[in-house]
């Protein structure tokens, strides 16, 4: 092994090992502080207790986790379908974009916490949660895809004109592939936001005594002063968020790895 390569290998090992070590150190410190100061679990549970709670309450929590994951991904799928469809319409007809983009912006800038209670008036709890998650996930996917569709190489567009390609061909063979990196960027943001939207809406709905997702478990455990369970549910939400992020990062690498510069660093 050559010297520069060995150095690179050492560095990539450090890149992985260092964050893990720091993370474990922080958990260890938390555990130590709780034990040494004899802090009561209803004030701050130790990480070991949270882990035990996740295992002990798994039948209850896993059901809620499933509900939250299902809502998040349903909302995300709807946001992808709606966002991409609308972006394509925008790209084909400028007047559609000018007419409807303001609505998308209004939905985006109005805080979701403020919309949730209103949605609960019109929809049943589950659909209201779904609608909230959809609204927040929708915009980044839409706006990124719109930019992506418009960013096709000018000369390639001319080339398609030269060969008299139909609008449909130009869309499928040129504009959609050009938009893919932007779309995947929007998906990474939208995926995280869909989870946040689902949680926020469920907190709002949960106070009305409805819903069974993880956010509801947090609210419910809070009323019962079951602090370890609150933390356990929180950990599961975080893990879900991380999993969503990793999933879309992996998808992006899979789809763009061979050709797009944004995934270039993963080579070697």
């Amino acid at each position: 092994m050559s010297e520069p390569r060995r150095r690179a290998a050492t560095r990539s090992l450090m890149d992985i090992a260092l964050p893990i070590l720091v993370f474990l150190g922080a958990i260890g410190l938390w555990e130590a502080v709780v034990r040494l100061n004899d802090i009561q679990p209803y004030l701050l549970p130790a990480p070991s207790l949270i882990a035990q709670t996740i295992i002990k309450d798994w039948p209850l929590l896993s059901g809620s986790l499933w509900v939250t994951v299902k809502i998040t991904f349903s909302a995300l799928l709807l946001a992808i379908a709606g966002g991409v469809l609308l972006a394509v319409l925008f790209s084909q007809w400028k007047w559609v974009e000018r007419s409807f983009f303001p609505f998308a912006v209004i939905l985006q800038v109005t805080p979701i916490v403020a919309i949730a209670p209103l949605l609960l008036v019109y929809l049943d709890a589950q659909n209201a949660v779904l609608a909230c998650a959809f609204i927040v996930a929708f915009f980044p996917i839409l706006s990124n895809t719109v930019i992506g569709l418009a960013s096709a190489d000018r000369s390639l567009v001319e080339l398609f004109q030269l060969y008299r390609a139909s609008r449909w061909r130009q869309l499928t063979l040129l504009r959609l592939p050009s938009a893919l990196p932007y779309f995947l960027g929007g998906l990474k943001i939208g995926g995280g936001l869909a989870l946040i939207g689902a949680i926020v809406a469920e907190i709002a709905a949960g106070s009305a005594g409805q819903g069974t997702g993880l956010a509801f478990r947090i609210a419910e455990a809070g009323y019962r002063l079951n602090i370890p369970r609150m933390f356990a549910a929180l950990v599961l939400i975080s893990v879900t968020g991380i999993a969503i992020f990793l999933f879309f990062s992996g998808l992006s690498r899979l789809l763009l790895g061979r050709w797009h510069d944004s995934e270039r660093d993963h080579e070697t």
Binding site: E158, L159, L162, R169, L174, P177, W259, D261
Partner: protein, 251 residues
């Protein structure tokens, strides 16, 4: 020489008011290698795009011997390959837009790639290629439909000199082998003399042809031609014409 196309009284004004070309008259002979030479922004690329039918002229006409626009191959300043597709699939594109399946087009694609010496890297993605190889792929894509007319818009401007000389030789070889009519845009006097059978010198914006110079040296040309006194003499004449074009602009 029979005529392939004629631009007569062609003017082009862009939407922002820029007058790019003013009453341009230009004949394109069948089988010639015509170079449009001029300073940056003189409208020579615009003339090429009008010829390709990528934009309509504001005034005047573009007429074709055959009546309708023939098959045209176009090579841009940049290689403009689709980064998400392999070299093979990039060259397939013009045929694909003509509803030819990948399978039925395979022979044509392989021929086009062999012409430019890229047979070995057919399944490589563009970003793994050098600048010169990308440009070769772009030329293969333009040639895959066997166009009688090939338009090139400063294709080698971004390449280093060694690669450019090599591609100049390849282009001349292709031209001799295929008999294609070529219209080539450049701002390099040396490149224009080396390649062309005729040079149209453009004045700066608004562009028009201020000199047409024949380079009656026979093909094939090679490095010996580059070093010959005749080459130097042609370069001198063309440089002077270009100089006049530039002072016209200053006046």
């Amino acid at each position: 020489m029979t005529m392939l196309a004629r631009l007569s009284g062609v003017s082009k004004t862009f939407a922002n008011g820029t007058l790019a070309l003013r009453s341009l008259d230009l004949n394109i002979g069948d089988g010639e290698f015509l170079t449009l030479l001029g300073p940056s922004g003189c409208g020579k690329s615009t003339a090429l795009r009008l010829l390709a039918g990528l934009m309509p002229p504001s005034e005047g006409t573009v007429s074709w011997k055959a009546g309708a626009t023939p098959e045209i191959g176009f090579v841009f300043q940049e290689p403009t390959l689709m980064p998400w597709a392999s070299v093979f699939d990039n060259v397939w594109l013009p045929l694909r837009l003509r509803n030819q399946s990948r399978k039925t087009a395979t022979k044509e694609i392989e021929q086009a790639l062999a012409l430019v010496g890229l047979g070995d890297v057919a399944h490589v993605y563009p970003r793994e290629l050098s600048g010169g190889m990308k440009m070769r792929a772009s030329i293969a894509r333009a040639l895959v439909t066997h166009p009688p007319l090939l338009l090139l818009d400063e294709p080698f401007a971004a390449l280093d000199e060694i690669t450019r000389f090599k591609l100049n030789n390849d282009l001349l070889r292709l031209k001799t082998e295929l008999g294609t009519t070529v219209v080539f845009v450049t701002h390099s006097v040396f490149e224009s003399v080396y390649l062309s059978s005729r040079i149209a010198v453009f004045s700066a914006r608004p562009g028009r042809v201020i000199a047409e110079i024949d380079i009656p040296e026979p093909l094939p040309r090679d490095e010996n031609f580059r070093l010959s006194p005749a080459y130097a003499e042609h370069c001198r004449v063309v440089s002077q014409a270009l100089q006049r074009a530039m002072t016209d602009q200053a006046a």
